[in-house]
């Protein structure tokens, strides 16, 4: 087994914390795990006897399922713990919940929470390793990693690749994790959306900002379309889905002006006809379903690396 001296971490809370080397380690390990999912018997004994808890404070189908499959393919025991917001309001604090769960001897807690920082709070309170499966509008590191993995598979490199992220940057944890990860690996990132979707001073994260989708499109190698939340309309952030689609929707006409080998990505779930037109979502350049498959491999890598980290600490 290869060593992972540069992955001695208890938790994975965000790509802001990870070094380029650590990110590349995860991607390398993910690559070796991808093959497991393609076997007839999709299981290795790596995490046998370990307990992984999926602690989800927000509805999620694909991320939770992806983590669950990842853990099961590594032979871990998995428990899904879904906390409705209403029961959280009833008084049990996040810390209480976590301590309760830990009393059942969990090894890794995968947490999804509607509020930025909740996984950090959790990680400080428990001995188990914590993986952030998305916190508020802060980070979604496993998504950022699977996006990097997918780009690498197709482009073979990161340095000099141009990625355009389009949509509600303000409320997107995917955008933030993508930006942290991509800029660390030499990808040139541009974010694009109406000014109401662009948070203040985002240029300081090392990205270019534009409101002109068509202009930005011409140069780009990868288009990352973000999901538009219809509720945001009420906050006055955009006037209507129709108008949004007109200026920021990806359709055949726009795509014809992009590079011929441009790749289309989307963290899902897709709002067909809003940020992306149906025929585009299914076209050959679309990597949307591949992202989903790669997600399992990347999450297997994260679970594996954390369990090995814990191993190393115990042996110390």
């Amino acid at each position: 087994m290869e060593t992972n001296a540069h992955f001695a971490r208890k938790d994975i809370l965000g790509l802001e914390d990870l070094s380029a080397e650590e990110i590349l380690t995860v991607l390398d390990v993910a690559r070796s795990f991808r093959e497991v999912s393609e076997r007839e018997v999709k299981k290795v004994p790596t995490l046998r006897g370990q307990t992984v808890i999926n602690l989800f404070y927000e509805p999620s189908t694909r991320t939770r399922t992806s983590f669950e499959l990842a853990a099961k393919r590594l032979s871990a025991d998995v428990v899904n713990f879904t906390v409705s917001e209403s029961s959280a309001v009833k008084g049990e604090t996040l810390i209480d919940t976590a301590r309760n769960i830990e009393s059942m001897h969990s090894d890794i807690i995968v947490v999804r929470h509607p509020v930025s920082g909740a996984p950090q709070l959790l990680a400080r309170a428990v001995k188990s390793s914590v993986i952030n499966a998305g916190d508020g509008a802060h980070e979604h590191p496993s998504q950022g990693l699977l996006d990097l993995f997918t780009i690498k598979e197709h482009k073979g490199k990161f340095e000099g690749i141009k990625v355009l992220i389009v949509g509600d940057i303000s409320h997107s944890r995917v955008a933030r994790s993508d930006i942290y990860g991509m800029t660390k690996l030499g990808i040139e990132v541009t974010v694009c959306g109406p000014p109401t979707f662009i948070p203040v001073e985002i240029g300081k994260m090392g990205v270019r900002v534009t409101c002109d989708f068509d202009e930005a499109l011409a140069e780009t190698d990868v288009i990352m379309m973000l999901r538009i939340q219809k509720e945001r309309q009420h906050g006055g952030l955009y006037p209507s889905v129709k108008e949004y689609a007109r200026f920021f929707g990806l359709n055949r006409d726009r795509l014809s002006r992009a590079k011929s080998d441009v790749l289309i990505m989307h963290p899902g779930p897709v709002n067909r006809g809003v940020e992306i037109s149906p025929e585009i979502a299914d076209c050959t350049q679309s990597l949307i379903l591949e992202q989903v498959s790669n997600g399992v491999a990347v999450r297997m890598a994260l679970l594996y690396l954390l369990s090995r980290g814990a191993y190393g600490k115990a042996a110390h």
Binding site: E16, V89, T93, L94, S116, G117, H138, E139, H171, G235
Partner: protein, 440 residues
């Protein structure tokens, strides 16, 4: 006659321009005389050589939480915390349960303070019934009972017409209206300052403008009504500009700043420590610089803590669900003493902003060693350095982001009407000066 002589201290009373080594004589709880060392005698003495003796601090913005939220703080614990911080007078906000919007609650607070308090308590009445911002509270009756100002604090009066009427009506009783300036419609769901930090953390932002919009409105209303406005906890460079301009025009406006807005920035929120969640939010270093300039040029009249205790379990919630507020009574002086070391204020200027200035705004006979006034005083050891230990606080709550900070300048002893209400542990060991001795 019960006499106590404070001997050999460096007495500092900005209200009277006193800044010299003197003896201070207390008789029956009142300031009886100040004189050159050795000129006064009393049987009981308190040796304060090498220390500064200043009028007891006045905090014009405290939350004592009683009645209703005794699990956060009580009048007993809150005033004990005040005494430990060198404060002998605190003005407490009206957001109790029930709200202090009628004379019965005002009288209850005053009676509790008389029985259990380690500091003078001056209640602030609500502007509107139930802090609902709909109709005026019984301001006149509360004034008779003893309130010193009115404020809806964290529920700022949204309706401009009601705010106008509140300013006019309160002026009949000589009461200032204290405004927590925040247009909440500008920061829906906001939990921290809008800046690069909020962009990175993805937390809902509160721009400077949500404070400044209301500072501007309230200044215009104070100008219109010629009534006294006090802006609570200014936190932005823009608010400083607005208040400075208003003062130049002669608008009757004053304002305060908190230690946490001076010594922390929104960078502290990166820890996701809920003790850094406060309203107004911690701002940027540029705002901090503007606040210092405001202190220097007198735009900012007073330093106030906005001491806001919360029980530990509520601060163990995630960042959005945890309540706003942090406690400040026991850390205010040592933090603010940094302003003197930074050269922002002279020591007399700092002491004035923690004593006579807030006392004047509230029209209370405090913050001065005027002969005949209550002997409320604080003894400071300006040389003493120590680490802030949250575990030793007198407050019932622990929501303080300054734990572990190395500070200089310690409150060693606090007297309320001539009676010792606080004495630092080790006060006798590490320095001879605060020891009490009986001659004869």
């Amino acid at each position: 006659m019960e006499k106590l002589l404070i001997k050999g201290a460096h007495v500092l009373d900005p209200s009277r321009g006193i800044d010299a080594v003197m003896d201070l004589l207390i008789e029956n709880g009142h300031i009886a005389a100040l004189g050159p060392p050795g000129s006064l005698v009393a049987e009981e003495t308190l040796d304060a050589h090498g220390k500064r003796v200043v009028p007891g601090f006045v905090d014009m913005h405290t939350h004592l939480r009683e009645p209703g939220y005794e699990y956060k703080e009580t009048i007993r614990t809150g005033t004990a915390a005040a005494a430990a911080g060198g404060f002998t007078s605190v003005a407490c906000m009206a957001n109790t349960q029930p709200v202090n919007d009628n004379r019965t609650v005002t009288e209850y607070i005053l009676e509790k303070a008389r029985l259990e308090g380690s500091a003078n308590v001056y209640p602030i009445g609500a502007v509107s019934k139930g802090l609902r911002g709909e109709e005026l509270a019984e301001i006149g009756e509360m004034a008779e009972a003893g309130i010193v100002a009115i404020s809806d604090d964290g529920q700022p009066v949204r309706d401009s017409h009601l705010m106008r009427r509140a300013l006019e009506y309160a002026s009949m009783f000589g009461l200032p209206v204290i405004s927590h300036c925040e247009d909440k419609s500008l920061c829906p769901g906001g939990v921290m300052n809008e800046s690069f930090v909020s962009t990175e953390l993805g937390l809902n932002p509160m721009p400077n403008a949500c404070e400044e919009v209301m500072v501007a409105r309230d200044i215009l209303l104070a100008e219109l009504t010629r009534s006294r406005l006090h802006v609570a906890h200014v936190s932005t460079a823009g608010s400083i500009h607005l208040v400075r301009d208003a003062k130049r025009r002669g608008v009757p406006v004053t304002c305060e700043v908190t230690p946490h807005h001076l010594f922390l920035t929104d960078e502290a929120v990166r820890s996701f420590d809920t003790a850094t969640k406060v309203n107004p939010p911690l701002r940027t270093a540029a705002d901090g610089a503007a606040l210092r300039e405001g202190l220097r040029d007198g735009t900012i009249d007073a330093i106030a803590t906005d001491h806001a205790p919360h029980e530990q379990s509520s601060k163990e919630l995630d960042f959005s669900m945890a309540p706003f507020g942090l406690i400040g009574l026991e850390t205010a002086f040592p933090l603010c003493f940094r302003l003197v070391k930074e050269g922002v204020l002279t020591l007399p200027q700092l002491i004035a902003k923690m004593t006579i200035e807030p006392a004047r705004i509230l029209s209370i006979p405090k913050g001065s060693f005027a002969i005949g006034s209550d002997a409320d005083l604080t003894i400071l050891d300006l040389e003493k350095s120590y680490a802030i230990d949250v575990g030793k606080f007198r407050s019932r709550s622990r929501n303080c982001p300054f734990g572990g900070w190395e500070v200089q300048g310690k409150v060693v002893c606090t007297l309320l009407a001539g009676r010792i209400v606080y004495e630092a542990e080790n006060a006798r060991e590490h320095s001879v000066q605060a020891a009490r001795s009986h001659n004869g």
